[in-house]
Amino acid sequence: MARIELKDVRKSWIGATAVERIDLTIEDGAFVAVLGPSGCGKTTTLLMLAGIYSPTAGEIAFDGARVNDVEARDRNVGIVFQSYALYPNMSVLDNIMFPLRFKKVERAQAEARAREIAALVRIDALLDRRPAQLSGGQQQRVALARALVKRPHLLLLDEPLSNLDAALRLSMRTEIRRIQRELGVTTILVTHDQIEATTMADRIVVMNGGRIEQEGTAKDLYERPATLFVAGFVGSPPINLFEGDVQAGTLTVRDAQLRLAGTAQGSVVLGIRPESLKVDPAGTPARLIAAEPMGREVLYTAEGPMGLVRFLEPGAEARHREGESVTLTFPPQEALIFDKASGQRLEARIAA
């Protein structure tokens, strides 16, 4: 168990930069998710923590001690890869015991520990099998057991659920969370799936283009996204974004005009979440283009004065038909305004 710090960490190869700059502190025992699209540098960051890559610049510290030059095998980090990376030539038990081979643990004791951890991840009935004889979910558990058996300072999970089917993903999410709580091991989860990040982690770090966009709880990211990227990346279905122009306290988006409170000037982007929009007789008229029932709610697409807009309405069945006209409103405090050039959120609000 350790407190992890990354100070101004960069990683670049000849002709390519994977990580521009990372400054991050992870408290002992915390569960942190690193969320971002493919190629944002999240896996590179993970491999730097594991010691597979060494950073081009900056410092990585475990419990305050610099570990940049410590070899991967000496860092005592457990890692679960997306492909599970089990050793196909060994039985499940040998796979789990593999890390203990290098720790001068006696065989009998190592086996006892491996069996204990296998029971924790519930694969104790499969110990004699080969990885090829296991299902995806079972392989996942073996990989987790192998990462945990050496009692790591830090557990790294690289997209651990993306190769599982939907039902299994749901149960493994709960499982991993349970095991992490039970052992209290500092854990970093790398994922591109916001549901995984928000359901499993205490804190979420959103990365884009090799930088950290925002760090915070799921609520922070959803309600007060720091940048346009975070607003667009977090939330499903995605937020409605409209480009507009502010002149003398008035925001113009195509044919619509809105009064602003607070300072803003020039090109901005207005963001309204689909779940903020409501059908209300007092609202702005819009023509429905599509209605897509999603089970618990219906997702509508409509053409309004600001352009195409998506909104949600609870209920299993569509109450409005395509081609019909509806009137929409939204609570002004829920609308977000971003500076178009920098992507930063502005404190300006829509006036009630």
Binding site: L47, A50, G51, I52, A72, R73, D74, R75, V77, G78, I79, F81, Q82, S83, A85, L86, Y87, P88, N89, F98, P99, R101, F102, K103, R146, K150
Partner: protein, 363 residues
């Protein structure tokens, strides 16, 4: 779907329902016909390969000094070929593996009995007497050639074995280490190195035979097994390095990274995790290297002179050179003895050898 719409009238609903039974019968018939055609084709194309070997075997056990008769060969063929054909039919028609086995055994016993009855009396092992007697060649050629020219066949066998085993060891060691390095590490000139290896492989090594002869002469390795060993390994290695690189490319990086975070050093990760993944490649490369050295002729013919340095291919060459036309039986018997190790290796490692092309393509 029902039959093609040749009739203009719309078919009644009942006739739209396909006749499953006849469709199944047609499919089975088609599959059976396809299999028979394939089987017949394979039998036909393997005939020119199998027949000479079969002939060699027959001659080695039946020929007597002076001339060769084809009677035994044709008699044997007249029994074996129908037996194989009948078994193919049994294989196609018999529904259960058990029935096939019983049929096969039955045919085997009949063919064996027929062979024993018709040609059993002509079989003998006298042609194999070179295995335990050294001077048979001189005996046959009488005193016309100088005595003591031929070493015991076991000396040639030992030399061949030494050459082939050392080839296998050298090539396995170097090709696996070099293949791993090229597969995993980026270094300046990697692409050029790879292309260079391919070019080297495409370049006919035979053209170098005179320079190599001279170099071996100058360094004092001419007429030694060690010299041939080094030359062969050098010429063969580029190809095998390339093949091994292909096998290593197919091993995911994740496994290695995982081993290293699990506490293994790079060397331990290579030995404990990566090497077992390329086991098939190692076996294939090892077998090919062994057989390649076992069957080598041109280089050993050029560089080995003294008769105590002969390898099996040279022994066979000198035997046939001296007594061809006099005693075919012994030539055939030496050939059988020479081909046996390769045959056994192929037989046992067949399933690994077919993997090599796959690994090779990945390179």
């Amino acid at each position: 779907m029902s039959a093609a719409g040749t009739s203009d009238a719309l078919p009644a609903a009942a006739s739209l329902r396909p006749d499953w039974r006849s469709l199944a019968r047609q499919a089975l018939l088609k599959r059976g016909a396809g299999q028979s055609v394939l089987l017949a084709f394979l039998l036909l194309v393997s005939l020119p390969i199998i027949l000479p070997y079969f002939w060699m075997l027959v001659i080695s056990f039946t020929a007597r000094s002076g001339g060769v008769s084809t009677d035994v060969l044709w008699t044997a063929c007249a029994i074996v070929v129908p037996a194989v054909l009948i078994y193919s039919v049994v294989h196609l028609v018999a529904p259960s593996p058990r029935l096939r086995l019983v049929g096969g055994l039955f045919l085997f016993v009949i063919a064996g009995a027929l062979l024993a009855a018709l040609i059993g009396g002509q079989l003998h092992v006298a042609n194999y007497r070179f295995l335990w007697r050294t001077n048979i060649i001189e005996e046959i050629r009488s005193k016309a050639t100088a005595g003591g020219q031929f070493p015991s066949v076991w000396i040639a066998f030992r030399n061949s074995l030494a050459l082939a085993v050392s080839q296998t060891v050298i090539i396995l060691t170097v090709a696996s280490l070099a293949g791993y390095y090229i597969s995993r590490f980026a270094f300046r000139g990697r692409e050029a190195f790879l292309q260079g290896m391919l070019v080297l492989h495409a370049f006919p090594a035979m053209t170098l035979i005179i320079p190599i002869f001279l170099i071996l002469h100058w360094v004092g390795l001419l007429d030694t097994i060690l010299g041939v060993m080094l030359v062969l390994a050098t010429i063969e290695l580029p190809f095998y390095v390339f093949v091994m690189k292909g096998f290593f490319d197919a091993v995911p990086w994740d496994i290695e990274m995982s081993a290293m975070t699990d506490g293994a050093s790079r060397r331990q990760a290579f030995r404990l995790v990566v090497l077992p993944q390329v086991r098939v490649g190692l076996i294939a490369v090892g077998v090919f290297a062994f057989i390649r050295a076992w069957e080598e002729y041109i280089f050993v013919r050029t560089m080995l002179i003294e008769n105590t340095n002969w390898v099996m291919s040279l022994y066979l060459f000198w035997v046939s050179d001296d007594i061809m036309g006099v005693d075919y039986g012994i030539v055939a018997a030496v050939s059988v003895f020479y081909v046996l190790p390769s045959l056994l290796l192929y037989l046992f490692c067949q399933k690994y050898l077919t993997q090599m092309t796959i690994g090779g393509i990945r390179g």
